[in-house]
């Protein structure tokens, strides 16, 4: 191509490159009529160039959003500047099959699109090139990565046996809720409970039975609380729940309901039918509570009293009078 002169022979192989390169290439004239349609486009669309050349692109492909497409093309023409769209904005310009239709995970081809202004000798943009890149593999790895990260986040926050929040993450949530309540002065309550005579369950029926009791207890807790409440497994047989926007009376109703549901149920494991109860301590948020730690201590104190008062009951923490 020395001196800008293209010989006929060169033109031939240059066109061959454009035809056979594994990238979609379309050229549109001012009326959006197709001027170039390379083999990538023909093969993936199933439309040979004779069916497309000189036809209005938007009529051949009515699924392409016309306003969006025209806006892109006109801005490229006016500014003589390239425009890009990525698969994240819009998965595809034309819906093509996945290049690997059998083993590929994606249903269709994800595409990055580049619009290129093609200027004539007079400097006018007479044609617009549209380049389609197959980025399905990139899109799929990105989606896999995001799914894996979500799963990892879930794993790092949850307790495997109970599927509740683990202690570490639950304490973070408690910090957050405590700070929020300090600012809003709204109502809030903390419930702490444990399974009565849990050691006996393990000793009598074995640890797998004990695990099943933990699972069932967590299940009842999840069913009884609201979506916005935050439950966690605090220790071996010890559970906690932050009841958001809930004052003492509401928290007591919640605790009492959970207590009666657990007391009424029978857990079956192997041939055993296991019945058990829980004791619960409730502590309402008050201005005088100065730290999440102190709030937990209040709930723990109430739980202690429930145990000593004979178990299978709910105790509300009583703040010392006059302080």
């Amino acid at each position: 191509m020395a001196g800008g002169q293209i010989e006929l022979g060169e033109l031939h192989w240059l066109l061959d490159v454009l035809q056979s390169i594994d990238i979609g290439l379309v050229v549109l004239d001012r009326d959006y009529k197709v001027q170039v349609w390379n083999s990538f486009m023909a093969n993936h669309s199933g439309l040979p160039s004779r069916d497309v050349i000189s036809k209005p692109f938007l009529q051949v492909f009515p699924d392409v959003p016309e306003d969006w497409f025209r806006r892109k093309v006109e801005s490229v023409r006016m500014l003589k500047n390239r425009a890009f769209t990525t698969w994240e904005q819009r998965p595809y310009l034309l819906r093509f099959k996945n290049y690997r239709p059998i083993t590929g995970a994606a249903e269709y081809m994800f595409q990055n699109i580049t619009f290129i202004p093609l200027t004539s000798v007079t400097g006018e943009v007479e044609y617009i090139g549209v380049v389609i890149n197959d980025v399905t593999d990139i899109a799929m790895s990105r989606q896999d990565l995001e799914a894996a990260n979500l799963e990892l986040a879930h794993l790092s926050r949850s307790d495997r046996l109970s599927q509740l929040n683990n202690r570490g993450y639950w304490e973070e949530c408690l910090q957050q809720e405590f700070r929020r309540l300090k600012r809003t002065h709204g109502p809030g309550a903390l419930v702490m409970f444990d399974i009565d005579h849990f050691k006996k369950v393990n000793d009598t029926y074995g640890h797998p039975a004990g695990d099943e009791v933990i699972r069932q207890t967590s299940g009842r807790l999840r069913e009884t609380m609201r979506n916005t409440d935050i439950a966690g497994r605090y220790g071996g047989e010890e559970f906690v729940a932050i009841l958001v926007d809930t004052a003492a009376d509401g928290a007591q109703i919640f605790a009492e309901r959970l207590r009666s549901v657990i007391a009424a149920q029978t857990v079956r494991h192997d041939q055993h039918e296991i019945r058990y109860t829980i004791s619960l301590g409730v502590a309402e948020m008050q201005e005088r509570i100065e730290s999440p730690k102190q709030w937990i201590e209040c709930a723990d104190r109430a739980l202690y009293e429930a145990k000593h008062g004979g178990r299978n009951r709910v105790v509300l923490y009583q703040f010392p009078a006059g302080v």
């Binding site: 594994d22 083999s39 993936h44 199933g46 040979p48 239709p101 059998i102 083993t103």
Partner: protein, 329 residues
Amino acid sequence: MPTPVLICDDSSFARKQMARALPKGWDVEVSFAGNGAEALDAIKAGKADILFLDLNMPVMDGYEALAAIRAQDLPTLTIVVSGDIQPEAQARVTQLGAMAFLKKPVGEEEIAQVLTQYGIRGTDKADAAPVQVEVDIRDGYKEVANVAMGQAADFLARLLNVFVLMPVPHVNMIDSADLRMALSAVAVGQNVSAVCQGFIGAGIAGEALLLFHESSFQDIAELTQYQGKIDGNAELELLMDMANILIGACLKGLADQLEVSFSQGPPVVLGRHVQVSDLLKGNTLRWKQTLAIEMGYRIENRKISCDLLLLLTEDSIASLNKRLQYLIG
């Protein structure tokens, strides 16, 4: 008097293609055989002054048939018509007494040329009726696969200077639920490395999947005179080289026969040193059925074996069938 001509090929599609390519107006009496053993019977019955003989066939293949013809001194002139076009295959059949060797798919002109060359064409008959052959479309898939496979084997044979053994390809419709099982059956108990490459064109879309048996790396390295240690990188290099040759040649062979051209995506390594059953683990397959064409390659006197599978989408079949119909008129 019409010349008795015998066409021996296991594929009904190939028999029809061959019969169609006989010179128009040549006064012949055409019979057919599905393997070498049937051909020997037909020759003995005087039905084969001229024998068009395929090489890869079940029961008795073309090489065995040629050997038997020579041993029993049977009266026939044999023209081998083969998808296996390796130089070594040509040399072997010539040595076994074949008069000529034609590459599949065979054209009218090539046949006419050979017949003229050997002074065979005698009397013409003006109103020769076209020969009727019943064709099973699956034989068509098998035949184009066989020819494509032969072109790939020829590349490999010339590159490595070896003789590639080519069994008859298998053609099956496979449910997505059974694909893993079908793959496992290809390489039982073996660890494999797998590369796949998508292709699409003229309404035909699919994937070429190369399963390379683990035990083959050392021999391939020797044959390609690979210098240096065979570590993970070297293996990947060898694997990709094999994939390029076999998939590229096979797809080109297929496209040429169907008179289409395919776009080919980049090759993707599906797994290395894994059980075949683990290759597609975790993939949700979105299709119901695939047309699977399985081609096994072995290299004579070497521990090299690999399988090339062409998996075509269900919606490709209509277009494929249409193009196969063109080939046999």
